[in-house]
Amino acid sequence: MTVKTLSARKNGTARAEAGTEPIPLRYGDDPYVWACWLYYEDHMTQGDIAEIMGISRATVNSYLADARARGIVNISLEPSRLSSLSIAQELKRHFGLHDCLVVPSDDNTRPLIDRLGGAAAQALAKLLKSGDTLAVAWGRTVLAIAEQASVPGLQDVTVVQVTGGTAANFAYTPELCASAIAGAIKARLVNITAPAVVSTAEIRDMLLREPLIESQFDALAKANKALFGISSLRPNSTIHTSGFFESVSLQQYLARNAVGVVAGRFIDGQGNPVAGPLDDRTIGISLDMLKTIKLRIAVAGGFDKVPAILAALRGGYVNVLITDAATGRGILNADGVTELDQKLSQRPKIDHRATLPSNFRTHIKKFLNDPDDVVEEMLDGVVKAHAAYLRPIKGSHRALVARTGPRPGKVGLVVGGGTGHEPCFLGYVGKGLADAVAVGNIFSSPPPGTIFQCANAASGGQGVLFVYGNYAGDVMNFDMAAEMAAEHNIEVRTVVTTDDIASSPLEDKEGRRGVAGNFFMFKIAGAACDRGSSLDACEAATRKANARTFTMGVALEPCSMPQTRRQNFEIGPDDIEIGMGIHGERGVIRDKMMTADEITDRVMDRIFSEMKAAPGDRVAVLVNSFGATPLMELYILFRRVEQRLSAKDIKIEANWVGHYCTSLDMVGASISVLHLDNELTELLHHPCDTAVLRIG
């Protein structure tokens, strides 16, 4: 124990002695309840609670978590808040918004406009970044946002007013709104120093040519974010009394079916611009210009505004909407979304978290820098680690060629596929095995160009053999690469591997996927190529190996994707998945957990039902980990495989136990058996030298 911990503890004891009992009587002897009381009722920090209780902060944390798991504390979302989340989600989905925030409707303690302003102020704090130019329109809502906004730590932000100014006979003029927002977020302010509406089009054009106003519009054109309200044209709307528009002109827009105003411009119910007498006399942002701004944040609520907001959404003027639940629901209903209420009422009212264990986590820990760079960074490592065996083709880490592989007069062997299966496929590149490997993204085929580069590099004038697993994506990409090779006079033959006997019934053998048995197919193909056999002979030997290789996998736990750090499907706590593929595809049968021997027997029974081996026949065995299963358990599986084979008097000619074809961090293993004949035995023992397999 460190000095620091000691003193902290001492400190706690001292306070406990001075003040409270070790555990106050009213909590009985339940420290969980005591910790919860201090945390939830007395609002103390976990650190303070640790001192008072004389325990570590970590223990307090785990008490609090356990209390939730045990139901001592129930945390529930207020239904109105939950519903506002669903409405926001549906609005976002239905209108293809970048984001949407919906404030609950049933809290009438504050005026709607203040609550919208508060929500928008919070949203601004998330959406604004240093260096932004924010275009700000006028309106009561915008002013309400300014009153509550504060975004600390922003640098180099510019606020630009989107329209000219108006007489200051109302409280939310364009100048004031822009300046209030600029003040709140400490941004540089650019006003448009011209009237919003001028008497004639000629005056507008003249003003727009003024260098000062031109420079202000240049600043506006740099806006990457916009903040605006949406005005309704209903009779009670403040737009009629604001004096922003002359009422005579307003009537003309209304007569042409205008339903709303966005940044000083009129739109109809579909969001189309409505032409009218003010168009040429308005100095301010146009609707087209508004749409070029990347993030367009509209803040508006109130039932009378539903048609106007819907129109703005339909017109695509908004991609971030901040509104309230009643309005949001109204917008969705008006646009024909009626399932929402059903969805809401059908939502099961179970607090799932109460049943989760305290150590439940939603993300898997991984060694990552930027998740988007995993493949590139892995390949950087591979190219350096295995430089003795392989090198990039033309600098691309996605196409790797064996240093001593391709040679004139030899059939070239190209393998490949997605990543996430390491050491497949790149570990099998080297003398006597694959000549080149094409590397895709995680669980995703490489593109044709990459595969063609490999074919080109592997070609020794005697043709090239493609060997890869049977997946729709791989087949399409390798086939396209084969066409490209043909155009360059390289003859390509393809063997698609189909060793996974669990993936389709025997009648549909060709539809089966290729899994860890690739190890054997690559080995046989590589040996045939290295011995200088013809393209025909190499293809035939590989097809034979594929026909005589039988694999079945079992997953105990799913794998997790580096990008999401989440498991990409679920397996129940007591379940296993038999027939699991190497991409985390679900298996074909789900069963209860059983012993290692029972699992091995299930797999071996299935293999024996297809492999017609007679007593005295020879096989090669591969017991392969899917990633997270340790060697210890693989040997336990191998032990039973050996027992089953020897009971049938089948001889194991060679065996491999370890990580040969993985599926990221899946817990599980596969068993592959290659039914040998003389030719295959010879080819299996042919020398090879690669990063993960060396023979001879």
Binding site: A275, G316, P448, G473, M561, T564, E585
Partner: protein
């Protein structure tokens, strides 16, 4: 005749890329239930790369489609790379000679895209693939045109049918691709390809509608 200008419509492809990138996590999540969970990531990567090449280059719609198609086809891999790659390349080839795009050209473009997909893939409608979105969407668009609906309304019909088609995959058994090995267990989950296809068609239709609007305003 309602039409929009090809030369200035390349930015439609940018908005299409935006939709895919925004939905990256969602697409991967639904793909993770019955596939391998990479759909959103790979799509976002491809569309993002294409958008970087299109942005700021003032491309025509045809050139932007060609850029997107080429990136998907040659640099992305997977199964969606070639399938969407061929679709967008066909889109580009259909419209490259047209200075403006009317409903008839738009329909031909969609049909040729579909032909391209069917020439390299073997799926049919009902197999729980992107075709369950694309085929009914094209049919709805053509039917709306045949009944004399204006171009924008035909685009609305296209979106409605695409989303309905996407939703139909929830009840289908996968017949092709990795999910097909699950048989009946694929029922109850949307197909990721059908979902991304609906996103693409909706963004395309919205983009085209906006262009029609602009050209209508300019023409007035």
């Amino acid at each position: 005749m309602q039409q929009f200008e090809n030369a200035s419509a390349g930015d439609i492809v940018l908005s299409l890329a935006d939709r895919i990138i925004e939905n990256r996590a969602y697409l991967s999540e639904i793909d993770g239930k019955i596939g391998d969970g990479d759909h959103g990531v790979n799509m976002a990567k491809g569309f993002g790369m294409a958008a970087d090449r299109i942005r700021g280059n003032d491309m025509s719609l045809a050139t932007a489609f060609d850029t997107l198609g080429t990136v998907l086809m040659t640099e992305i891999g997977g199964s969606m790379g070639p399938l969407y790659g061929v679709m967008f390349t066909q889109f580009a080839e259909t419209i490259e000679k047209s200075s403006s795009i009317d409903a008839r050209t738009f329909s031909a473009m969609l049909s040729n895209g579909l032909d391209g997909i069917q020439s390299i893939g073997s799926a049919k409608v009902g197999d729980k693939t992107l075709l369950d979105t694309l085929v009914p969407a094209i049919q709805a668009f053509d039917a709306a045109n045949a009944s004399g609906k204006p171009f924008p309304e035909a685009l609305d019909a296209l979106v409605v049918a695409a989303e309905k088609g996407r939703d139909s995959t929830r009840d289908l058994v996968a017949k092709i691709g990795r999910a097909s090995r699950l048989g009946e267990r694929s029922v109850g989950v949307l197909d990721a390809g059908a979902t991304s296809c609906a996103l693409i068609l909706k963004a395309l239709a919205l983009g085209a509608k906006q262009k029609l609007l602009i050209s209508a305003t300019a023409g007035r």
